[in-house]
């Protein structure tokens, strides 16, 4: 479960930023997770509850925004979001595709008080 290591990083970043902002409590953390990144939000939540205990992040809500997979056709440059697992360009049917989105994994913002 690599979600554990990932969640450790989320907690560390959130606590650092809260300290910088001299916040007393972290209410909500907004995360962007790419559809292709291979991270399970449910597992991140599970570890978060465990790792944030007794810190100012305890009880914070994790809000996941799922970033869709985005592909660019190398043949005709069409950019599109694949609708199923068979990847092909909707315009020219080429399967030569560059992955241009969907791998994101970052903390976008957070709400503190």
């Amino acid at each position: 479960m690599h979600e554990l290591g990932i969640t450790e990083n989320i907690v560390n970043i959130a606590l650092d930023k809260a300290k910088e902002a001299q916040a007393g409590k972290i209410v909500k953390i907004n995360l962007v997770v790419g559809e292709l990144a291979g991270f399970v939000p449910h597992c991140i939540e599970f570890y978060f509850d465990f790792l944030s205990k007794d810190s100012i992040a305890e009880g914070a809500i994790l809000n996941f925004e799922l970033a869709p997979a985005q592909l660019r056709c190398r043949n005709c440059s069409t950019v599109f979001c694949p609708q199923d697992t068979t990847w092909a360009c909707p315009k020219c049917q080429s399967q030569s595709l560059e992955i241009t989105g969907g791998r994101e994994l970052y903390i976008e913002s957070m709400e503190v008080e």
Partner: protein, 221 residues
């Protein structure tokens, strides 16, 4: 309530340590390969074949990170110049190596005595694609019994690979594996990728694979 903008990559810490690992490797003129595959595709076997073929030319170190190691892993210990074992079995996080684990393993290896470092990652096609380790090349092994749809099912790991080794080619008469379809899907994701067809059992194709390794190593030094 106050909103703080952050926009910070969560994998940044891993990437930072990976960059440190690579600087350490470069300082000691070590060329490092991250070998990834599903369990049983042939990582340990390919490492053994590579050592057998190249040990007169290069001093080869191995980082063993595969929990499901077979008896063959014992042979790696005998054949390699030096081996560091990462035991991920007792850690919760056992689906991939990360840069921190490799950084510890590097501390236990005689870096002065190594030219080529082969890193056997944990058997998994999802998680290792997210964690760079400090390697110079990323290699994915796909074996015939697994079927030819792996690049379609696990696009990320194949999109980032420098080389893909199609192993267990000796199975070709017995399984439905469309090599052309596999290559087409793979090259669609990754036009630059090097593809090798090998059998770690019969030794077919190992020479091609090893000459690519040697030339990649030379190009890096």
């Amino acid at each position: 309530m106050k909103k703080i903008e952050i926009v910070q990559n969560i994998l940044e810490a891993n990437e930072f340590i990976a960059a440190q690992n690579q600087r350490l490797l470069d300082k000691h003129k070590i060329f490092a390969i991250n070998i990834m595959s599903s369990p049983g595709a042939g990582k340990t076997s390919l490492i053994l074949q590579t050592i057998a073929r190249l040990k007169d030319k290069l001093r080869i170190g191995v980082i063993e990170g595969d929990v499901a190691s077979t008896l063959d892993a014992e042979k790696v210990k005998v054949e390699a110049t030096a081996v560091a074992q990462i035991n991920t079995r007792n850690m919760l996080e056992s689906c991939s190596l990360n840069a921190n684990m490799v950084s510890h393993a590097l501390q236990s290896l005689p870096l002065e005595d190594i030219d080529l470092l082969l890193i056997e990652n944990v058997g998994n096609l999802i998680c290792p694609s997210e964690f760079v380790l400090g390697e110079h090349k990323r290699v994915v092994i796909s074996s015939l019994p697994e079927g030819d749809d792996k690049p379609v099912k696990y696009p990320m790991i194949f999109a980032d690979a420098d080389a893909v080794v199609i192993n267990k080619i000796d199975f070709l008469p017995y399984v439905d594996f469309d090599i052309a379809a596999f290559q087409k899907a793979l090259q669609g994701l990754n036009p630059e990728v090097k593809i090798f067809q090998v059998s770690c059992k019969t030794g077919v194709g190992i020479e091609n694979w090893c000459s690519w390794l040697l030339s990649a190593l030379k190009a890096n030094s």
